[in-house]
């Protein structure tokens, strides 16, 4: 297997919610997507565009109406191997409270391991490293309901890490958090990605999208645009048609560019705007003064 062999293959997947006997609401229409090892992929799209439904196909929570999803070459329709699929691809959901099951943090992290019958000594090691990875070791004996939303989400991520997955899917995992909680989760994600974890994130925060390697844009159950964040954010008008947006950094850069042509319009991060300003001010000083 080469390193370029996808971890997840989504092949011609369509999916509908059945309302009643003769009415169906199509949510995904013939979607194909490969997720590669070590990749940081962002999926964006307006409410109801199908992005959450797509993400729920990535570890077999939903199975396709037509088409197939393979995780490590296992078809997610193969219910006998569903635990293998789920231990490879873990999911973090939007609401912190809905994914905590135990009354003590370390028991919560252990929950998945107990289900697959991991030996006590190895379980302890895995809990240690997972809690360490999300910076929550100090909280291991605390009851989770006293934690903040961001801390709960980190516990949820630790529970997934303990399963030693190859890929983590985050379905709007930061949308209920305050800015500190969000920054904490983003820092954890960045670190995991750096260590080689494959990340798929579904989000409405365009500044989060700017950190990804690749962006997939969904509309009416189809992929309508994809590329690097810089490529995608260059389509400001198209994104607005799709009910999306660009990061404020991009919007500010474009506004400055309208009045000052040499200022690059193609920036996606706050730091890039600051650097571009510095570059200009220094150029001006050189041109006018010395």
């Amino acid at each position: 297997m080469t390193t370029n062999h996808p971890i997840i293959r989504v092949e011609n997947v369509s999916f509908s919610y059945k309302v009643n006997q003769d009415q169906q609401i199509p949510v995904l229409q013939n979607v194909s997507l490969d997720v590669f090892p070590g990749e940081y992929l962002a999926i964006i799209g307006h409410n109801g565009s199908g992005k959450s439904t797509l993400s729920k196909h990535l570890n077999g929570i939903l199975t396709p109406g037509t088409g197939d999803v393979y995780v490590n070459d296992i078809n997610t329709r193969d219910r006998e191997r569903i635990y293998e699929v789920r231990s490879q691809v873990g999911m973090v959901f939007q609401h912190p409270d809905n994914q905590i099951v135990a009354t003590i943090v370390e028991d919560d992290v252990a929950f998945g391991l107990e289900n697959i019958g991991i030996a006590a000594q190895e379980m302890k090691e895995r809990i240690d490293t997972s809690l360490e990875a999300v910076g929550m070791n100090a909280f291991r004996h605390r009851p989770p309901h006293h934690l903040s939303g961001g801390q709960k989400q980190r516990i949820a991520i630790a529970g997934i890490l303990a399963m030693r997955p190859r890929c983590i899917v985050l379905d709007e995992a930061t949308s209920m958090l305050d800015s500190n909680g969000r920054q904490d989760i983003l820092a954890v994600i960045r670190k995991l990605h750096k260590e080689g974890m494959t990340i798929v994130t579904v989000t409405h925060h365009m500044s989060e999208v700017a950190e990804a390697d690749r962006v997939v844009v969904m509309e009416a159950g189809q992929i309508v645009l994809q590329g690097t964040p810089r490529e995608v954010f260059a389509h400001q008008e198209r994104l607005q048609e799709l009910h999306l947006d660009v990061p404020d950094a991009s919007r500010i850069a474009a506004l400055v560019h309208q009045n000052w042509e040499s200022f690059s319009p193609n920036l996606i991060a706050n730091e890039e705007v600051v650097e571009e300003v510095q570059r200009h001010v220094i150029n001006q000083a050189e041109a006018s003064g010395t």
């Binding site: 307006h46 409410n47 109801g48 000052w260 706050n270």
Partner: protein, 286 residues
Amino acid sequence: MTNTIVEVTELSHVYMQGTPLAHQALDRVSIQVARGECIAIIGHTGSGKSTLIQHLNGLMRPQSGKVVVNGLDVSDPKIDIRLLRRQVGLVFQNPEDQLFEKLVGDDIAYGPFKMGLPIAEVKERVEWAMEIVGLSFDEMKDRPTFALSGGQKRKVALAGMLALRPHVLVLDEPTAGLDPRSRNELLQRIQKLNQEERLTVIFVSHNMEEVAQLAERVYVMANGQIACDGTPRQIFGNSLLLREHHIGTPEAVDILYQLREHGYAVDTGAFLPEEAAAEILNLIKR
């Protein structure tokens, strides 16, 4: 004489009072909101924001202190609580959990229907409320609620509250989980309701872009107390305050603070992207 619609005076609340787990969630909180104002309440997780707003429609009663909304005293045990709740619409943080009818239209109609309004007016209100939140009446009224996306459920829950036509709208994180267009549209519509119908709006938010865009005045909460209040410009222009209370900044302000740290003279109170761009132009045009 009074133009005040919400008056909270020296409100305190202790959770699990008298036990070793006692936690002072509110500590002598006083706020005053004028009719037609649009107020944001911000602060770190656990600072007391949600506890405060639950007092506004009588979901919680004051342990000590006073809460008066539109002349109704929430600490009065004989208060007409149904009247209060019609006047103060409170939309929770996860309003999608509040949906219970099978169809979108039925869910939104539930409140007005229970108020005993004639069916024609119920329908009119449902149409109006769906229009406000940006849901097409014809297309969505017969949709089953289970097949909605998270953001759509949020809109349905908000429409259900608006259909009661409250005087004061209290929102906990109104746009969390909405896509950028829905977020902007909803903010614009709330703003319109606020400005044209003088609906008083009080909202809790972690999204500082949203606070910058919508609020006329901001209360900052910390450790169960009001740390300060001011216009968004005053609050976001004060980096010490923001740091002390762990408040995030709008992205535009973050860029300006970074520039200031590099020694550039910029107005860090310029919180809208257009204003930030103008500040940057000033720097490079020199």
